[in-house]
């Protein structure tokens, strides 16, 4: 963390890591897709529609994991004033929003044949929609400030406030009755998924995780560059402008 405080060192590290990470992502996706689409059985109740799980569940997990990343980054901004914390949060937000959108859309596509509806306003679905709106709110707030360094703290506070939604999403299916079924994998008494379906799911989850690592590193690098360009332009403008 301390070594990474220097953006230049971070850029160097990212450049070394990225080719390996992209390679691992490609392999994980190839394995996950093959397992999920061809090498796994149909479910005894849901038939082949269970294959939607292999894209829906990892997207939903990432939606929450990316938000957790933003919340930790927010702590980094507020408590330690880490120079890369706001860069990390800002780079993660659009990726998290995209994963959340995917979880919502693939969930609807799964819900229609199984439940008989695209959407219901139960606690789980609604809280995930709220997560998506929080992502949009964070992105909008960042854009409301001209200078990134001024946006950092207000956005960090808002993202910590929004983090209260994470346990609500996770436990919504236990606290209230919902149309969405309770957790199958992340539960105290072990997964309720047969290994023939659990393995493809975990491989796909790994693929999504690696994909996020790649996208996040690249988006952070872009953000660092963007801020450099900005400060260079500001400096150029002040040098050209007559001194006041």
């Amino acid at each position: 963390m301390i070594a990474l405080a220097n953006p230049t060192r971070f850029l160097k590290l990212a450049a070394t890591l990225l080719p390996w990470l992209w390679g691992a992502t490609a392999i994980a996706f190839a394995a996950g897709l093959w397992l999920g689409l061809f090498a796994s059985p149909a479910d005894y109740q849901q038939g082949d529609s269970v294959r939607i799980m292999y894209v829906h569940v990892p997207a939903a997990w990432m939606a929450m994991f990316v938000y957790a990343t933003i919340a930790v980054s927010a702590l980094g901004t507020l408590v330690w004033r880490h120079p890369l914390a706001d860069v990390s949060a800002r780079a993660a937000a659009p990726i998290g929003a995209a994963f959340t959108l995917l979880a919502l859309v693939t969930g609807a596509v799964w819900g229609k044949p199984m439940w008989g509806t695209w959407w219901v306003w139960d606690a789980r679905l609604t809280s995930v929609l709220v997560l998506f709106l929080i992502y949009l709110g964070l992105i909008a707030l960042w854009h409301a400030f001209d200078e990134p360094s001024r946006a950092a703290r207000p956005v960090a506070i808002l993202s910590l406030v929004g983090a209260i939604n994470l346990p609500i999403i996770k436990f919504s299916v236990d606290w209230w009755n919902t149309l969405h079924q309770p957790a199958s994998v992340m539960r105290l008494d072990g997964p309720a998924i047969h290994p023939s379906m659990l393995v493809p799911l975990l491989v796909m989850a790994t693929a999504y995780m690696l994909l996020f690592a790649c996208l996040h590193l690249m988006a952070m690098r872009n953000e660092i560059w963007r801020r450099r360009v900005r400060s260079l332009r500001v400096r150029a403008a002040t040098m050209l402008a007559p001194a006041e």
Binding site: P41, A42, D43, Y44, Q45, Q46, V50, M53, L75, L78, V79, W80, P113, M114, W115, G116, T117, V120, D122, A123, L160, V161, I164, I168, D174, W175, W176, N177, T178, L179, Q181, P182, A183, S184, R187, D189, A192, I193, H194, S196, M197
Partner: protein, 161 residues
């Protein structure tokens, strides 16, 4: 160092306050956040005829009767109480006896629930057909099912199955 600790404490304190506030709100709105009511709750609350609500539970075994066209009658049970439901329309593919179901509609004067929407609710167990058949053949099916509704069992008082 102390400044960092002070900031951290401040954030933690604000977090505790916020979490308690949200927690209280959620407890207060408990009844409206719940997606459906079990037959027992409906009996207990004596929901008047004509008031719309969602009825959830399991489709009782041997209760499904198909009438003319798409008309269907079945009973929704939470293993304690049962409510008869009538519905006309397309049923979801997962609709079958012993499966979870959520019906939306209202009671008529005779205690019959007239539904205009029927949604299927499945449990969190996933397995291939062969495994399900093997479990049934070995007679382990019921313990498995009970186990899976174990989490639902905890909800029974709160209006799960």
């Amino acid at each position: 160092m102390t400044r960092k600790q002070r900031r951290l404490t401040l954030i933690a304190a604000a977090g505790v306050v916020l979490a308690s506030a949200i927690g209280l709100m959620l407890v207060a709105f408990q009844d409206s956040i719940v997606f459906f009511n079990s037959p027992s709750e409906v009996a207990e609350r004596e929901v008047p005829p004509g008031e719309r609500f969602r009825l959830g539970g399991l489709v009782a075994e041997n209760s499904v009767m198909h009438g003319e066209g798409t008309e269907v009658r079945f009973a929704v049970t939470d293993t304690v109480s049962e409510i008869e439901v009538t519905y006309s329309g397309l049923l979801p593919d997962l609709f079958r006896e012993g499966q979870g179901v959520v019906a939306e509609g209202a009671l008529d004067g005779n205690g019959l629930f007239v539904a205009d929407t029927v949604l299927a609710r499945h449990d969190e167990n996933y397995m291939p057909r062969e495994v399900a058949d093997a479990l049934k053949a070995q007679g382990h099916w019921m313990d498995e099912a009970e186990e899976s509704y174990g989490s639902g069992g905890a909800q029974t008082q709160e209006g799960g199955y």
